[in-house]
């Protein structure tokens, strides 16, 4: 079977009018074109950074996400100061009880300075990149006195991986069904296409809401996490399947597939070695552009209280606290988790756009 494989690679290289005399592989060409897109590269680097922060949240976040401190509820963000004698430090907190609302209000205590220590070791022996012996809440705390910055970092784990896992699931579903649909055609194709049409005709948020509400209340956080992932990807595989089907249909009649068939290659071999490789770039682009939709979907669901459930935390769960205007007016810092959502979604959109331009052989 080896000769046929070589033929496909040649066809791909030769089919690209912008190839440098066939010197570079398809992948190298994509990489080269991608690098020219400044926004795409910046977006990619930013996302990489976010993922590193999310995965290493135990180390990068100053506190554990569920470290509750009822005496320090709704502390406003503290400013980071710098002096040559103390290095970075934050001022201490003074609490005053508001005579009207009876809530504790915090102001800074200028006499106290809590220096920020790098590679700080907390009471349980865990290392943190930076933390402080005194209270240090750079983005303030929530209604249970938990550090918002740490919670955002931990929330990134759920919010950002959920998009990835969901997209992976819809890639698997979409490419399998898309390939079947395009390769065999006939009634199977018809059935799959009709299913996709039905799915795409539902308004997705109400459908997600219904499915999210249907998740059993007794499930553990991990089960809920995967449940939400499956819900999000169930509705989103259709578009991908369509694209794959179109590609497969186009390639099915091409010369190199004919040649492979004439040489006696089986269905499995033709699909995996000749048809799918031609779809990879498309799949990657569509997948990248699908991730932000999933992240937004999760955020919206959790925001409504139908998604991820505490104690697990995600950006949507954090934003749920900011749902009421009265709360936001008193504690405006609770809206901070919206910022990473925005940045990540914009970055994914830019990255996907750059990849699409790079993967399209007809662009210049």
């Amino acid at each position: 079977m080896k000769p046929t494989i070589e033929i496909t690679e040649e066809v791909e290289g030769a089919g690209d009018p912008w190839a440098d005399g066939g010197q570079l592989s398809y992948r190298q060409l994509i990489w080269r074109r991608f690098r020219k897109n400044r926004m795409g590269v910046i977006a990619g680097a930013l996302l990489l950074l976010f993922y590193i922060l999310a995965i290493g949240a135990d180390f990068f976040a100053p506190y554990h996400y569920n470290e509750i401190n009822m005496r320090l509820r709704h502390v406003p963000p503290q400013r980071l100061h710098f002096s040559f004698s103390d290095g970075f430090y934050v001022h201490g907190l003074k609490s005053v009880r508001n005579s009207e609302s009876l809530e504790l209000e915090f102001t800074k205590d200028l006499m106290q300075r809590h220096p920020v220590e790098f590679f700080f070791k907390d009471a349980k022996g865990r290392r943190h990149l930076f933390s402080s012996a005194g209270p240090m809440f750079l983005l303030g705390t929530d209604r249970m006195g938990r550090d918002l910055l740490s919670r955002i970092m931990y929330g990134a784990r759920v919010s950002m991986t959920l998009g990835l896992v969901g997209v992976l699931l819809s890639i698997v579903l979409g490419s399998i069904l898309g390939t079947i649909s395009g390769y065999w055609g006939g009634w199977v194709d018809n059935l799959i296409q009709r299913i996709i049409e039905i799915l795409s005709a539902f308004p997705d948020i109400p459908l997600w809401m219904a499915l999210g509400a249907a998740l059993p209340p007794g499930w553990s956080s991990i089960q809920i996490y995967f449940g939400i992932t499956i819900i999000l990807s169930i509705i989103r595989w259709g578009g991908l399947a369509r694209q794959v089907r179109g590609k497969v249909l186009a390639y099915r009649e091409s010369d190199f597939v004919m040649a492979a068939r004439a040489a006696g290659a089986g269905h499995w071999h033709i699909i995996t070695k000749h048809l799918l490789p031609g779809c990879y770039s498309h799949i990657i682009v569509i997948a990248t552009l699908a991730i932000p939709g999933m992240i937004l979907g999760e955020t919206a669901l959790s925001f409504l209280g139908l998604g991820i459930r505490p104690p697990m935390t995600s950006w949507g769960v954090l934003l749920e606290e900011a749902q009421r205007v009265t709360v936001l007016l008193h504690y405006p810092w609770l809206i901070f988790p919206a910022l990473p959502v925005l940045v990540v979604v914009i970055a994914f959109n830019f990255l996907g756009d750059a990849l699409r331009d790079a993967a399209d052989p007809y662009s210049d």
Binding site: P203, A213, A300, L304, N349
Partner: protein
């Protein structure tokens, strides 16, 4: 084409109910906490004891005749609860749709005719931000801004004075005063992506030979763009009309929940949380039906605008 539409509608219908049955099944599993006899009685009354397919048949046959069953929570016919809300949902959705097209098409044309100028880059960036911002966040921040700066609470669709009052011209005016905010908030996402599509389409068309011919004939650039290019480039946007409907309905649902508007969204959330199956089922069915009708209108509009499709 008519056949395709009809078959489309037919396959849409059972799917919507399947979902509701699913919700029913789950609801049954977890039941409610009232005493057993009461539960039994309720079950009997709502026909929950019948097997799945029978319940489904009863429900769907009622549905077709306009009998949607009874809401558990409100102890009233679903029928009475939903029509107002569907009407408001429609008003907001159609409003945002109009807003989307009115804003997106000129911006897309401008962006395409000024390709790679700074204004194009600016609009591109803006559209990326517009596509990325979740609608509920926009609604939330608008509410806070309105409260902080103008000191007006942006809650609901009517002022307190008109709430529950009979329909008068004054009430209608008050409605429009409140309406534009949800309409814009819901429309922003769609506007941004539509603008990108319009720009792409127009750029494709502008590169085609017939546009060059038109230019070679000595026509003014504005005539070339408006009479030749835009007419072709706008066609796909009409077929996208159908595709952008789910987004708008979704957006209106979630924005309504945040802004407390009397549309389908909040009541749907409520009914889902309380496992009020007939109400939830009817609402989801209605939303899907709205979509199907919207798709139908989009298809008809496309056939009306583009003769090539009619003869297929």
């Amino acid at each position: 084409m008519a056949i395709s539409i009809i078959s489309f509608i037919i396959i849409q219908l059972p799917q919507g109910d399947y979902l509701d049955r699913e919700i029913q099944r789950l609801e049954e599993e977890f039941g409610d906490s009232s005493s057993l006899a009461q539960v039994e009685e309720l079950r009997e009354r709502y026909g929950l004891n019948a097997p799945l397919w029978k319940r489904y048949l009863i429900w769907i046959s009622g549905f077709v005749r306009g009998n949607f069953g009874e809401s558990f929570e409100y102890k009233r016919e679903v029928d009475e609860l939903i029509w107002d809300r569907i009407a408001f949902t429609l008003i907001i959705s159609v409003g945002s749709l109009i807003f989307t097209y009115i804003v997106a098409i000129p911006l897309g044309i401008y962006s395409a005719t000024h390709q790679y100028k700074w204004s194009d880059h600016f609009l591109t960036f803006l559209s990326f931000v517009g596509m990325s911002i979740p609608a509920f966040l926009l609604a939330l921040s608008l509410m806070v801004f309105a409260f902080e700066i103008f000191d007006v609470p942006l809650f609901g669709l009517f002022s307190a004075y008109y709430e529950g009052a009979p329909w008068t011209w004054g009430k209608l005016g008050d409605l429009f005063k409140h309406l534009w905010i949800p309409v814009i908030v819901v429309g922003i996402n769609g506007t941004a992506s539509l603008m990108r599509i319009m720009r792409g389409n127009l750029l494709d068309v502008l590169g085609q030979p017939f546009v060059q011919t038109a230019r070679a004939k000595g026509l003014k650039e504005i005539v070339v763009v408006s009479k030749h290019a835009v007419r072709i480039a706008i066609n796909p946007l009409i077929s996208i009309l159908g595709m952008s409907l789910p987004g708008i309905l979704s957006g209106s649902a979630i924005v309504s929940i945040v802004l407390g508007l009397p549309t389908v969204g909040p009541i749907l959330l409520n009914s889902l949380l309380n496992e009020d199956i007939y109400l939830a089922g009817t609402l989801i069915m209605m939303l899907s039906l709205l979509l199907v009708i919207g798709n139908l209108i989009a298809d008809i509009a496309l056939a009306w605008v583009d003769p090539r499709i009619r003869y297929e």
